[in-house]
Symmetry: C2
Subunit: 310 residues, 2 copies
Protein backbone atom coordinates (compact mmCIF):
# COMPACT_ATOMS: atom_id res chain seq x y z
CA UNK A 1 0.00 0.00 0.00
CA UNK A 2 1.26 3.46 -0.88
CA UNK A 3 1.49 6.01 1.89
CA UNK A 4 -1.39 7.95 0.30
CA UNK A 5 -3.54 4.82 0.26
CA UNK A 6 -2.85 4.23 3.94
CA UNK A 7 -3.87 7.81 4.67
CA UNK A 8 -6.99 7.39 2.56
CA UNK A 9 -7.96 4.23 4.40
CA UNK A 10 -7.30 5.86 7.75
CA UNK A 11 -9.42 8.82 6.84
CA UNK A 12 -12.24 6.56 5.72
CA UNK A 13 -12.26 5.06 9.19
CA UNK A 14 -10.69 1.73 8.26
CA UNK A 15 -8.27 0.50 10.82
CA UNK A 16 -5.09 -1.28 9.86
CA UNK A 17 -2.65 -1.74 12.69
CA UNK A 18 0.94 -0.51 12.53
CA UNK A 19 2.31 -4.05 12.66
CA UNK A 20 -0.05 -5.26 9.92
CA UNK A 21 1.05 -2.38 7.69
CA UNK A 22 4.71 -3.07 8.31
CA UNK A 23 4.77 -6.81 7.89
CA UNK A 24 2.46 -6.95 4.89
CA UNK A 25 4.52 -4.25 3.15
CA UNK A 26 7.65 -6.21 4.01
CA UNK A 27 6.31 -9.30 2.25
CA UNK A 28 5.10 -7.32 -0.74
CA UNK A 29 8.53 -5.73 -1.09
CA UNK A 30 10.22 -9.10 -1.41
CA UNK A 31 7.50 -10.69 -3.53
CA UNK A 32 9.43 -10.58 -6.79
CA UNK A 33 12.12 -12.87 -5.47
CA UNK A 34 9.79 -15.81 -5.16
CA UNK A 35 11.86 -18.25 -3.20
CA UNK A 36 13.28 -15.58 -0.88
CA UNK A 37 9.74 -14.37 -0.24
CA UNK A 38 8.62 -17.91 0.52
CA UNK A 39 11.41 -18.39 3.06
CA UNK A 40 10.76 -15.03 4.74
CA UNK A 41 7.03 -15.64 5.05
CA UNK A 42 7.73 -19.06 6.50
CA UNK A 43 10.27 -17.68 8.96
CA UNK A 44 7.79 -15.08 10.16
CA UNK A 45 4.76 -17.36 10.40
CA UNK A 46 6.65 -20.21 12.05
CA UNK A 47 8.10 -17.80 14.61
CA UNK A 48 4.47 -16.78 15.17
CA UNK A 49 5.49 -13.97 17.48
CA UNK A 50 4.55 -10.39 16.70
CA UNK A 51 7.01 -9.10 19.27
CA UNK A 52 9.82 -9.92 16.87
CA UNK A 53 11.08 -7.23 14.52
CA UNK A 54 12.40 -8.16 11.11
CA UNK A 55 14.21 -5.72 8.86
CA UNK A 56 14.84 -6.26 5.16
CA UNK A 57 18.08 -5.33 3.38
CA UNK A 58 20.21 -4.57 6.41
CA UNK A 59 23.32 -2.50 5.73
CA UNK A 60 26.50 -4.02 7.17
CA UNK A 61 29.80 -2.15 7.12
CA UNK A 62 32.64 -4.53 6.30
CA UNK A 63 35.48 -2.05 5.82
CA UNK A 64 35.77 1.59 4.69
CA UNK A 65 35.50 0.50 1.05
CA UNK A 66 33.09 -2.40 1.36
CA UNK A 67 29.62 -3.02 2.66
CA UNK A 68 26.98 -5.71 2.38
CA UNK A 69 23.20 -5.80 2.44
CA UNK A 70 21.81 -8.91 4.09
CA UNK A 71 18.36 -10.16 3.08
CA UNK A 72 16.90 -10.02 6.58
CA UNK A 73 18.08 -8.82 9.95
CA UNK A 74 16.56 -9.51 13.36
CA UNK A 75 17.96 -6.71 15.53
CA UNK A 76 16.77 -8.21 18.83
CA UNK A 77 19.00 -11.25 18.33
CA UNK A 78 21.68 -9.81 16.04
CA UNK A 79 20.85 -12.49 13.50
CA UNK A 80 21.12 -11.99 9.73
CA UNK A 81 19.61 -14.35 7.19
CA UNK A 82 20.58 -14.83 3.58
CA UNK A 83 18.30 -16.75 1.26
CA UNK A 84 20.41 -18.30 -1.46
CA UNK A 85 18.29 -19.06 -4.50
CA UNK A 86 19.60 -21.95 -6.61
CA UNK A 87 21.56 -19.61 -8.90
CA UNK A 88 23.93 -18.90 -5.98
CA UNK A 89 25.45 -22.32 -6.43
CA UNK A 90 26.04 -22.17 -10.17
CA UNK A 91 29.77 -21.57 -9.95
CA UNK A 92 32.53 -22.41 -7.50
CA UNK A 93 33.62 -18.75 -7.61
CA UNK A 94 30.19 -17.59 -6.43
CA UNK A 95 30.15 -20.23 -3.67
CA UNK A 96 33.56 -19.05 -2.41
CA UNK A 97 32.45 -15.41 -2.56
CA UNK A 98 29.40 -16.22 -0.43
CA UNK A 99 31.59 -17.99 2.12
CA UNK A 100 33.97 -15.02 2.36
CA UNK A 101 31.05 -12.63 2.67
CA UNK A 102 29.57 -14.66 5.54
CA UNK A 103 32.95 -14.71 7.30
CA UNK A 104 33.43 -10.95 6.83
CA UNK A 105 29.95 -10.05 8.05
CA UNK A 106 30.14 -12.25 11.14
CA UNK A 107 33.69 -11.18 11.89
CA UNK A 108 32.99 -7.47 11.51
CA UNK A 109 29.71 -7.31 13.39
CA UNK A 110 29.88 -10.16 15.87
CA UNK A 111 26.43 -11.07 14.59
CA UNK A 112 25.37 -14.49 13.36
CA UNK A 113 24.56 -15.03 9.69
CA UNK A 114 22.40 -17.95 8.61
CA UNK A 115 22.19 -19.09 5.01
CA UNK A 116 19.21 -20.93 3.56
CA UNK A 117 20.16 -23.16 0.64
CA UNK A 118 17.17 -23.33 -1.73
CA UNK A 119 18.48 -25.98 -4.10
CA UNK A 120 16.65 -28.58 -2.05
CA UNK A 121 13.20 -30.16 -1.87
CA UNK A 122 10.54 -28.05 -0.19
CA UNK A 123 10.70 -30.16 2.97
CA UNK A 124 14.46 -29.58 3.21
CA UNK A 125 14.02 -25.84 2.79
CA UNK A 126 11.49 -26.03 5.62
CA UNK A 127 13.95 -27.90 7.81
CA UNK A 128 16.59 -25.21 7.46
CA UNK A 129 14.13 -22.48 8.40
CA UNK A 130 12.84 -24.49 11.35
CA UNK A 131 16.40 -24.70 12.69
CA UNK A 132 16.67 -20.89 12.61
CA UNK A 133 13.23 -20.57 14.22
CA UNK A 134 14.23 -22.82 17.06
CA UNK A 135 17.52 -20.92 17.54
CA UNK A 136 15.58 -17.63 17.77
CA UNK A 137 13.08 -19.12 20.20
CA UNK A 138 15.96 -20.22 22.42
CA UNK A 139 17.33 -16.68 22.38
CA UNK A 140 13.93 -15.26 23.32
CA UNK A 141 13.65 -17.61 26.31
CA UNK A 142 17.15 -16.61 27.35
CA UNK A 143 16.43 -12.88 27.01
CA UNK A 144 13.11 -13.18 28.80
CA UNK A 145 14.65 -15.04 31.69
CA UNK A 146 17.42 -12.46 32.15
CA UNK A 147 15.08 -9.52 31.50
CA UNK A 148 16.77 -8.17 28.36
CA UNK A 149 14.02 -8.94 25.84
CA UNK A 150 12.77 -5.78 24.10
CA UNK A 151 9.52 -6.54 22.24
CA UNK A 152 8.93 -4.98 18.82
CA UNK A 153 6.60 -2.03 19.38
CA UNK A 154 6.28 0.07 16.24
CA UNK A 155 3.60 2.23 17.84
CA UNK A 156 6.08 3.16 20.54
CA UNK A 157 9.01 3.75 18.19
CA UNK A 158 7.03 6.68 16.74
CA UNK A 159 5.40 8.01 19.87
CA UNK A 160 7.17 11.20 21.17
CA UNK A 161 5.33 11.08 24.51
CA UNK A 162 6.72 7.65 25.23
CA UNK A 163 10.32 8.77 24.68
CA UNK A 164 9.80 12.04 26.53
CA UNK A 165 8.85 10.08 29.60
CA UNK A 166 11.81 7.71 29.06
CA UNK A 167 14.10 10.80 29.08
CA UNK A 168 16.96 9.08 27.23
CA UNK A 169 16.99 8.12 23.56
CA UNK A 170 19.49 6.00 21.74
CA UNK A 171 20.18 4.75 18.23
CA UNK A 172 19.31 1.16 19.11
CA UNK A 173 15.78 2.21 20.12
CA UNK A 174 15.14 2.83 16.40
CA UNK A 175 13.08 5.94 17.08
CA UNK A 176 11.17 7.02 13.99
CA UNK A 177 9.07 10.13 14.44
CA UNK A 178 6.26 10.84 12.02
CA UNK A 179 6.84 14.56 11.46
CA UNK A 180 8.63 17.72 12.61
CA UNK A 181 5.82 18.50 15.04
CA UNK A 182 6.63 15.27 16.90
CA UNK A 183 10.33 16.16 17.02
CA UNK A 184 9.41 19.48 18.65
CA UNK A 185 7.07 17.74 21.06
CA UNK A 186 9.80 15.36 22.17
CA UNK A 187 12.16 18.23 23.09
CA UNK A 188 9.51 20.66 24.37
CA UNK A 189 10.45 22.97 21.49
CA UNK A 190 8.00 25.46 20.02
CA UNK A 191 6.71 23.99 16.75
CA UNK A 192 5.46 27.42 15.62
CA UNK A 193 9.06 28.63 15.42
CA UNK A 194 9.73 26.10 12.65
CA UNK A 195 7.38 28.00 10.36
CA UNK A 196 8.81 30.65 8.09
CA UNK A 197 5.98 31.97 5.95
CA UNK A 198 5.09 29.16 3.59
CA UNK A 199 8.44 27.51 4.21
CA UNK A 200 9.60 25.29 7.03
CA UNK A 201 12.91 25.81 8.81
CA UNK A 202 15.35 22.92 8.51
CA UNK A 203 16.35 23.10 12.18
CA UNK A 204 15.55 24.67 15.55
CA UNK A 205 17.71 25.33 18.60
CA UNK A 206 17.23 23.14 21.63
CA UNK A 207 15.09 25.09 24.15
CA UNK A 208 17.49 24.31 27.00
CA UNK A 209 20.81 25.06 25.29
CA UNK A 210 21.30 27.09 22.12
CA UNK A 211 24.54 25.25 21.37
CA UNK A 212 22.42 22.22 20.48
CA UNK A 213 20.47 22.25 17.25
CA UNK A 214 17.49 19.98 16.49
CA UNK A 215 18.14 19.14 12.85
CA UNK A 216 15.92 17.21 10.41
CA UNK A 217 17.95 16.95 7.23
CA UNK A 218 16.76 15.09 4.16
CA UNK A 219 18.77 13.32 1.47
CA UNK A 220 16.54 14.79 -1.21
CA UNK A 221 17.50 18.34 -2.25
CA UNK A 222 15.44 21.12 -0.66
CA UNK A 223 15.84 24.63 -2.02
CA UNK A 224 19.32 23.74 -3.26
CA UNK A 225 20.51 22.13 -0.03
CA UNK A 226 21.89 18.58 -0.09
CA UNK A 227 22.52 16.45 2.97
CA UNK A 228 24.36 13.20 2.49
CA UNK A 229 24.41 10.60 5.24
CA UNK A 230 27.33 8.24 4.69
CA UNK A 231 26.52 4.51 4.36
CA UNK A 232 28.10 3.78 7.75
CA UNK A 233 26.25 6.81 9.19
CA UNK A 234 29.45 8.19 10.72
CA UNK A 235 29.20 11.48 8.80
CA UNK A 236 26.69 13.87 7.22
CA UNK A 237 27.85 16.21 4.48
CA UNK A 238 25.86 19.43 4.26
CA UNK A 239 26.26 21.35 1.04
CA UNK A 240 24.51 23.64 -1.45
CA UNK A 241 24.23 23.42 -5.24
CA UNK A 242 25.15 27.06 -5.60
CA UNK A 243 28.87 27.71 -5.10
CA UNK A 244 28.45 31.04 -3.31
CA UNK A 245 25.89 29.69 -0.87
CA UNK A 246 28.04 26.60 -0.24
CA UNK A 247 31.10 28.75 0.54
CA UNK A 248 29.15 31.16 2.72
CA UNK A 249 27.70 28.27 4.69
CA UNK A 250 31.14 26.71 5.05
CA UNK A 251 32.55 29.96 6.46
CA UNK A 252 29.53 30.54 8.72
CA UNK A 253 30.08 27.16 10.40
CA UNK A 254 33.87 27.03 10.19
CA UNK A 255 35.11 25.30 13.36
CA UNK A 256 31.74 25.73 15.05
CA UNK A 257 31.21 24.14 18.44
CA UNK A 258 27.55 23.50 17.60
CA UNK A 259 26.18 20.03 18.28
CA UNK A 260 23.44 18.70 16.07
CA UNK A 261 20.74 16.32 17.24
CA UNK A 262 19.91 14.53 14.03
CA UNK A 263 16.56 13.13 12.91
CA UNK A 264 17.24 12.14 9.36
CA UNK A 265 14.29 12.24 6.96
CA UNK A 266 13.93 8.65 6.00
CA UNK A 267 11.94 6.77 3.41
CA UNK A 268 12.31 3.22 4.56
CA UNK A 269 12.56 0.26 2.27
CA UNK A 270 8.82 -0.23 2.66
CA UNK A 271 8.08 3.27 1.36
CA UNK A 272 7.02 4.72 4.71
CA UNK A 273 8.56 8.09 5.56
CA UNK A 274 9.66 9.25 8.98
CA UNK A 275 12.37 11.15 10.82
CA UNK A 276 14.78 8.68 12.33
CA UNK A 277 17.05 9.47 15.26
CA UNK A 278 20.68 9.09 14.16
CA UNK A 279 22.61 10.46 17.17
CA UNK A 280 24.62 13.62 17.93
CA UNK A 281 26.96 15.09 15.34
CA UNK A 282 29.65 17.77 15.65
CA UNK A 283 31.86 19.67 13.19
CA UNK A 284 34.48 17.58 11.40
CA UNK A 285 37.43 19.91 10.87
CA UNK A 286 39.39 17.36 8.83
CA UNK A 287 36.77 16.61 6.21
CA UNK A 288 34.94 19.95 5.91
CA UNK A 289 36.16 21.92 2.90
CA UNK A 290 34.78 24.94 1.01
CA UNK A 291 34.42 22.90 -2.17
CA UNK A 292 32.80 19.88 -0.45
CA UNK A 293 30.69 21.53 2.21
CA UNK A 294 30.39 21.20 5.97
CA UNK A 295 30.90 17.69 7.29
CA UNK A 296 29.36 16.57 10.57
CA UNK A 297 30.70 13.52 12.37
CA UNK A 298 28.83 11.34 14.84
CA UNK A 299 29.99 11.85 18.42
CA UNK A 300 27.28 10.00 20.32
CA UNK A 301 24.50 7.49 19.70
CA UNK A 302 22.70 8.27 22.95
CA UNK A 303 21.47 11.40 24.66
CA UNK A 304 19.40 12.76 27.48
CA UNK A 305 16.49 14.62 25.88
CA UNK A 306 16.64 17.61 28.23
CA UNK A 307 20.47 17.58 28.17
CA UNK A 308 20.61 16.55 31.81
CA UNK A 309 23.51 14.51 33.05
CA UNK A 310 21.50 11.47 34.07
Amino acid sequence: MKEEEIKEQEESGIFISEKTKYITSFFEKTSKKKIENYCLTRLWHRLDNDEIKIIPQQYVNINPEKYALTDVYLPQFKIHIEVNEPAHYLSQVKIEEDKLRKFEIENQTGHKLYTIDCRKELSQIHQQIDTIVSEINDRISEQKSNGTFKPWQPDIEKNPDYWKQKKVISLEDEISLTNIEDICKLFNADFNKTKRGFLRRGALVHPKNSNYLLWWPAERARQGWHNKLSQDEFTITETHEDEDKRKKHFHDYYNTGQIRIVFFHNKDILGLTSYKFKGLYSYDSEQSKPEIGTVWKRISVKMSIQLEDD
Copy 2:
Protein backbone atom coordinates in the same frame (compact mmCIF):
# COMPACT_ATOMS: atom_id res chain seq x y z
CA MET B 1 9.16 -17.24 -12.34
CA LYS B 2 8.08 -17.28 -15.96
CA GLU B 3 7.79 -20.64 -17.66
CA GLU B 4 10.83 -19.79 -19.79
CA GLU B 5 12.84 -19.01 -16.69
CA ILE B 6 11.92 -22.33 -15.15
CA LYS B 7 13.05 -24.07 -18.33
CA GLU B 8 16.27 -22.09 -18.32
CA GLN B 9 17.01 -23.02 -14.75
CA GLU B 10 16.22 -26.65 -15.40
CA GLU B 11 18.52 -26.67 -18.37
CA SER B 12 21.32 -25.09 -16.37
CA GLY B 13 21.08 -28.02 -13.98
CA ILE B 14 19.41 -26.12 -11.15
CA PHE B 15 16.79 -28.13 -9.36
CA ILE B 16 13.58 -26.57 -8.11
CA SER B 17 10.97 -29.05 -7.01
CA GLU B 18 7.45 -29.10 -8.44
CA LYS B 19 5.93 -28.14 -5.10
CA THR B 20 8.38 -25.28 -4.58
CA LYS B 21 7.56 -23.93 -8.03
CA TYR B 22 3.84 -24.16 -7.42
CA ILE B 23 3.64 -22.67 -3.98
CA THR B 24 6.13 -19.86 -4.55
CA SER B 25 4.29 -18.90 -7.76
CA PHE B 26 1.03 -18.99 -5.82
CA PHE B 27 2.35 -16.50 -3.30
CA GLU B 28 3.82 -14.25 -5.97
CA LYS B 29 0.49 -14.24 -7.78
CA THR B 30 -1.32 -12.88 -4.74
CA SER B 31 1.45 -10.51 -3.68
CA LYS B 32 -0.27 -7.34 -4.84
CA LYS B 33 -3.14 -7.81 -2.43
CA LYS B 34 -0.96 -7.37 0.61
CA ILE B 35 -3.27 -8.45 3.38
CA GLU B 36 -4.70 -11.36 1.41
CA ASN B 37 -1.16 -12.49 0.65
CA TYR B 38 -0.24 -12.24 4.31
CA CYS B 39 -3.20 -14.41 5.33
CA LEU B 40 -2.50 -17.02 2.65
CA THR B 41 1.18 -17.30 3.54
CA ARG B 42 0.23 -17.65 7.18
CA LEU B 43 -2.39 -20.30 6.42
CA TRP B 44 0.14 -22.33 4.43
CA HIS B 45 3.03 -22.02 6.85
CA ARG B 46 0.92 -22.68 9.94
CA LEU B 47 -0.56 -25.77 8.28
CA ASP B 48 3.06 -26.77 7.68
CA ASN B 49 2.02 -29.74 5.60
CA ASP B 50 3.16 -30.07 2.01
CA GLU B 51 0.59 -32.79 1.36
CA ILE B 52 -2.11 -30.12 1.29
CA LYS B 53 -3.10 -28.61 -2.02
CA ILE B 54 -4.24 -25.01 -2.19
CA ILE B 55 -5.82 -23.47 -5.28
CA PRO B 56 -6.23 -19.73 -5.84
CA GLN B 57 -9.31 -18.16 -7.44
CA GLN B 58 -11.59 -21.18 -7.42
CA TYR B 59 -14.57 -20.98 -9.78
CA VAL B 60 -17.89 -21.78 -8.10
CA ASN B 61 -21.08 -22.11 -10.08
CA ILE B 62 -23.98 -20.49 -8.19
CA ASN B 63 -26.67 -20.65 -10.87
CA PRO B 64 -26.73 -20.60 -14.69
CA GLU B 65 -26.29 -16.81 -14.69
CA LYS B 66 -24.01 -16.36 -11.71
CA TYR B 67 -20.66 -17.61 -10.55
CA ALA B 68 -18.14 -16.66 -7.89
CA LEU B 69 -14.38 -16.87 -7.56
CA THR B 70 -13.23 -17.63 -4.04
CA ASP B 71 -9.78 -16.47 -2.92
CA VAL B 72 -8.54 -19.92 -1.96
CA TYR B 73 -9.87 -23.45 -2.22
CA LEU B 74 -8.59 -26.57 -0.50
CA PRO B 75 -10.02 -29.39 -2.63
CA GLN B 76 -9.09 -32.17 -0.19
CA PHE B 77 -11.39 -30.70 2.44
CA LYS B 78 -13.87 -28.80 0.27
CA ILE B 79 -13.00 -25.63 2.14
CA HIS B 80 -13.02 -22.17 0.57
CA ILE B 81 -11.45 -19.13 2.19
CA GLU B 82 -12.22 -15.49 1.55
CA VAL B 83 -9.88 -12.83 2.86
CA ASN B 84 -11.88 -9.69 3.44
CA GLU B 85 -9.62 -6.66 3.41
CA PRO B 86 -10.91 -3.75 5.51
CA ALA B 87 -12.63 -2.13 2.50
CA HIS B 88 -15.14 -5.03 2.51
CA TYR B 89 -16.76 -3.51 5.57
CA LEU B 90 -17.10 0.03 4.31
CA SER B 91 -20.82 -0.16 3.61
CA GLN B 92 -23.75 -2.14 4.92
CA VAL B 93 -24.68 -3.03 1.33
CA LYS B 94 -21.28 -4.65 0.78
CA ILE B 95 -21.55 -6.53 4.07
CA GLU B 96 -24.96 -7.93 3.11
CA GLU B 97 -23.68 -8.87 -0.35
CA ASP B 98 -20.79 -10.82 1.21
CA LYS B 99 -23.21 -12.66 3.50
CA LEU B 100 -25.48 -13.64 0.61
CA ARG B 101 -22.49 -14.75 -1.42
CA LYS B 102 -21.29 -16.99 1.42
CA PHE B 103 -24.76 -18.49 1.77
CA GLU B 104 -25.06 -19.12 -1.99
CA ILE B 105 -21.63 -20.69 -2.29
CA GLU B 106 -22.11 -23.02 0.68
CA ASN B 107 -25.64 -23.88 -0.35
CA GLN B 108 -24.77 -24.61 -3.96
CA THR B 109 -21.59 -26.62 -3.38
CA GLY B 110 -22.06 -28.18 0.03
CA HIS B 111 -18.58 -26.82 0.74
CA LYS B 112 -17.59 -24.73 3.74
CA LEU B 113 -16.59 -21.08 3.27
CA TYR B 114 -14.48 -19.32 5.88
CA THR B 115 -14.11 -15.56 5.95
CA ILE B 116 -11.12 -13.77 7.47
CA ASP B 117 -11.98 -10.29 8.71
CA CYS B 118 -8.86 -8.13 8.37
CA ARG B 119 -10.13 -5.04 10.16
CA LYS B 120 -8.56 -6.36 13.33
CA GLU B 121 -5.20 -6.21 15.09
CA LEU B 122 -2.54 -8.54 13.70
CA SER B 123 -2.99 -10.95 16.61
CA GLN B 124 -6.73 -11.18 15.90
CA ILE B 125 -6.11 -11.87 12.23
CA HIS B 126 -3.76 -14.63 13.39
CA GLN B 127 -6.43 -16.08 15.64
CA GLN B 128 -8.93 -16.40 12.82
CA ILE B 129 -6.41 -18.19 10.62
CA ASP B 130 -5.40 -20.50 13.46
CA THR B 131 -9.03 -21.55 13.82
CA ILE B 132 -9.14 -22.56 10.15
CA VAL B 133 -5.79 -24.36 10.51
CA SER B 134 -7.06 -26.38 13.40
CA GLU B 135 -10.29 -27.24 11.53
CA ILE B 136 -8.22 -28.48 8.58
CA ASN B 137 -5.96 -30.49 10.84
CA ASP B 138 -9.02 -32.18 12.35
CA ARG B 139 -10.23 -33.09 8.87
CA ILE B 140 -6.82 -34.56 7.99
CA SER B 141 -6.83 -36.75 11.10
CA GLU B 142 -10.34 -37.89 10.24
CA GLN B 143 -9.45 -38.67 6.62
CA LYS B 144 -6.25 -40.44 7.61
CA SER B 145 -8.05 -42.61 10.11
CA ASN B 146 -10.72 -43.65 7.60
CA GLY B 147 -8.22 -44.02 4.76
CA THR B 148 -9.65 -41.32 2.48
CA PHE B 149 -6.81 -38.79 2.66
CA LYS B 150 -5.31 -38.11 -0.78
CA PRO B 151 -2.00 -36.26 -0.39
CA TRP B 152 -1.12 -33.48 -2.84
CA GLN B 153 1.29 -34.98 -5.33
CA PRO B 154 1.89 -32.59 -8.23
CA ASP B 155 4.57 -34.88 -9.67
CA ILE B 156 1.95 -37.63 -9.90
CA GLU B 157 -0.81 -35.43 -11.30
CA LYS B 158 1.35 -35.00 -14.41
CA ASN B 159 2.84 -38.47 -14.67
CA PRO B 160 1.11 -40.58 -17.42
CA ASP B 161 2.77 -43.80 -16.24
CA TYR B 162 1.22 -43.43 -12.82
CA TRP B 163 -2.31 -43.09 -14.23
CA LYS B 164 -1.77 -45.86 -16.79
CA GLN B 165 -1.06 -48.23 -13.96
CA LYS B 166 -4.08 -46.87 -12.03
CA LYS B 167 -6.26 -47.73 -15.07
CA VAL B 168 -9.06 -45.33 -14.15
CA ILE B 169 -8.94 -41.51 -14.32
CA SER B 170 -11.41 -39.05 -12.96
CA LEU B 171 -11.95 -35.31 -12.82
CA GLU B 172 -11.24 -35.11 -9.11
CA ASP B 173 -7.74 -36.54 -9.63
CA GLU B 174 -6.86 -33.20 -11.26
CA ILE B 175 -4.75 -34.86 -13.92
CA SER B 176 -2.61 -32.32 -15.76
CA LEU B 177 -0.43 -33.75 -18.47
CA THR B 178 2.55 -31.77 -19.72
CA ASN B 179 2.13 -32.32 -23.45
CA ILE B 180 0.41 -34.29 -26.22
CA GLU B 181 3.10 -36.95 -26.12
CA ASP B 182 2.07 -37.74 -22.54
CA ILE B 183 -1.61 -37.96 -23.54
CA CYS B 184 -0.65 -40.55 -26.17
CA LYS B 185 1.50 -42.41 -23.68
CA LEU B 186 -1.40 -42.66 -21.23
CA PHE B 187 -3.68 -44.29 -23.84
CA ASN B 188 -1.01 -46.34 -25.63
CA ALA B 189 -1.72 -44.25 -28.74
CA ASP B 190 0.93 -43.68 -31.41
CA PHE B 191 2.34 -40.18 -30.91
CA ASN B 192 3.78 -40.18 -34.44
CA LYS B 193 0.26 -40.19 -35.83
CA THR B 194 -0.35 -36.77 -34.28
CA LYS B 195 2.20 -35.24 -36.66
CA ARG B 196 1.00 -33.81 -39.94
CA GLY B 197 3.97 -32.29 -41.69
CA PHE B 198 4.89 -29.23 -39.62
CA LEU B 199 1.46 -29.18 -38.03
CA ARG B 200 0.05 -31.17 -35.17
CA ARG B 201 -3.35 -32.87 -35.32
CA GLY B 202 -5.86 -31.64 -32.76
CA ALA B 203 -7.07 -35.13 -31.92
CA LEU B 204 -6.40 -38.86 -32.39
CA VAL B 205 -8.70 -41.88 -32.23
CA HIS B 206 -8.47 -44.14 -29.22
CA PRO B 207 -6.38 -47.22 -30.22
CA LYS B 208 -8.98 -49.61 -28.75
CA ASN B 209 -12.16 -48.05 -30.18
CA SER B 210 -12.39 -45.61 -33.08
CA ASN B 211 -15.64 -44.20 -31.71
CA TYR B 212 -13.62 -42.54 -28.96
CA LEU B 213 -11.49 -39.54 -29.83
CA LEU B 214 -8.57 -38.29 -27.73
CA TRP B 215 -9.04 -34.53 -28.03
CA TRP B 216 -6.76 -31.74 -26.77
CA PRO B 217 -8.62 -28.51 -27.57
CA ALA B 218 -7.33 -25.08 -26.63
CA GLU B 219 -9.25 -21.91 -25.85
CA ARG B 220 -6.79 -19.88 -27.91
CA ALA B 221 -7.58 -19.92 -31.65
CA ARG B 222 -5.53 -22.35 -33.73
CA GLN B 223 -5.73 -22.08 -37.51
CA GLY B 224 -9.14 -20.48 -37.23
CA TRP B 225 -10.58 -23.05 -34.81
CA HIS B 226 -12.09 -21.88 -31.54
CA ASN B 227 -12.99 -24.12 -28.62
CA LYS B 228 -14.91 -22.63 -25.77
CA LEU B 229 -15.22 -24.48 -22.47
CA SER B 230 -18.21 -23.12 -20.54
CA GLN B 231 -17.52 -21.73 -17.05
CA ASP B 232 -19.32 -24.67 -15.45
CA GLU B 233 -17.43 -27.05 -17.80
CA PHE B 234 -20.64 -28.79 -18.85
CA THR B 235 -20.17 -27.93 -22.54
CA ILE B 236 -17.48 -27.24 -25.14
CA THR B 237 -18.40 -25.27 -28.25
CA GLU B 238 -16.26 -26.10 -31.28
CA THR B 239 -16.42 -23.58 -34.08
CA HIS B 240 -14.44 -21.95 -36.89
CA GLU B 241 -13.92 -18.27 -37.80
CA ASP B 242 -14.69 -18.98 -41.41
CA GLU B 243 -18.40 -19.48 -42.08
CA ASP B 244 -17.95 -22.19 -44.71
CA LYS B 245 -15.59 -24.24 -42.57
CA ARG B 246 -17.88 -23.84 -39.57
CA LYS B 247 -20.90 -25.07 -41.53
CA LYS B 248 -18.99 -27.97 -43.11
CA HIS B 249 -17.76 -29.06 -39.68
CA PHE B 250 -21.29 -28.81 -38.29
CA HIS B 251 -22.63 -31.05 -41.03
CA ASP B 252 -19.73 -33.52 -40.78
CA TYR B 253 -20.51 -34.10 -37.10
CA TYR B 254 -24.29 -33.70 -37.23
CA ASN B 255 -25.77 -36.16 -34.71
CA THR B 256 -22.47 -38.03 -34.44
CA GLY B 257 -22.17 -40.82 -31.88
CA GLN B 258 -18.50 -39.98 -31.32
CA ILE B 259 -17.34 -39.65 -27.73
CA ARG B 260 -14.53 -37.24 -26.96
CA ILE B 261 -12.00 -37.78 -24.18
CA VAL B 262 -11.05 -34.21 -23.39
CA PHE B 263 -7.71 -32.87 -22.18
CA PHE B 264 -8.22 -29.14 -22.32
CA HIS B 265 -5.14 -27.01 -22.94
CA ASN B 266 -4.85 -25.03 -19.80
CA LYS B 267 -2.75 -22.13 -18.65
CA ASP B 268 -3.29 -22.14 -14.94
CA ILE B 269 -3.51 -19.06 -12.81
CA LEU B 270 0.19 -19.45 -12.03
CA GLY B 271 1.11 -19.28 -15.72
CA LEU B 272 2.01 -22.96 -16.06
CA THR B 273 0.54 -24.72 -19.10
CA SER B 274 -0.73 -28.28 -19.26
CA TYR B 275 -3.49 -30.46 -20.68
CA LYS B 276 -6.07 -31.06 -18.01
CA PHE B 277 -8.48 -34.01 -18.02
CA LYS B 278 -12.05 -32.69 -18.18
CA GLY B 279 -14.07 -35.89 -18.71
CA LEU B 280 -15.99 -37.47 -21.62
CA TYR B 281 -18.15 -35.36 -23.91
CA SER B 282 -20.72 -36.32 -26.53
CA TYR B 283 -22.70 -34.46 -29.19
CA ASP B 284 -25.31 -32.03 -27.87
CA SER B 285 -28.13 -32.09 -30.41
CA GLU B 286 -30.09 -29.31 -28.70
CA GLN B 287 -27.37 -26.68 -28.61
CA SER B 288 -25.39 -27.48 -31.78
CA LYS B 289 -26.35 -25.14 -34.61
CA PRO B 290 -24.75 -24.26 -37.98
CA GLU B 291 -24.31 -20.62 -36.96
CA ILE B 292 -22.91 -21.45 -33.49
CA GLY B 293 -20.91 -24.58 -34.16
CA THR B 294 -20.80 -28.07 -32.71
CA VAL B 295 -21.54 -28.26 -29.00
CA TRP B 296 -20.24 -31.13 -26.88
CA LYS B 297 -21.78 -31.88 -23.49
CA ARG B 298 -20.14 -33.67 -20.59
CA ILE B 299 -21.47 -37.20 -20.09
CA SER B 300 -18.95 -38.57 -17.61
CA VAL B 301 -16.20 -37.32 -15.25
CA LYS B 302 -14.58 -40.74 -14.92
CA MET B 303 -13.31 -43.37 -17.34
CA SER B 304 -11.38 -46.57 -17.71
CA ILE B 305 -8.30 -45.71 -19.80
CA GLN B 306 -8.46 -48.82 -21.96
CA LEU B 307 -12.29 -48.59 -22.16
CA GLU B 308 -12.68 -51.75 -20.13
CA ASP B 309 -15.73 -52.17 -17.98
CA ASP B 310 -13.91 -52.30 -14.66
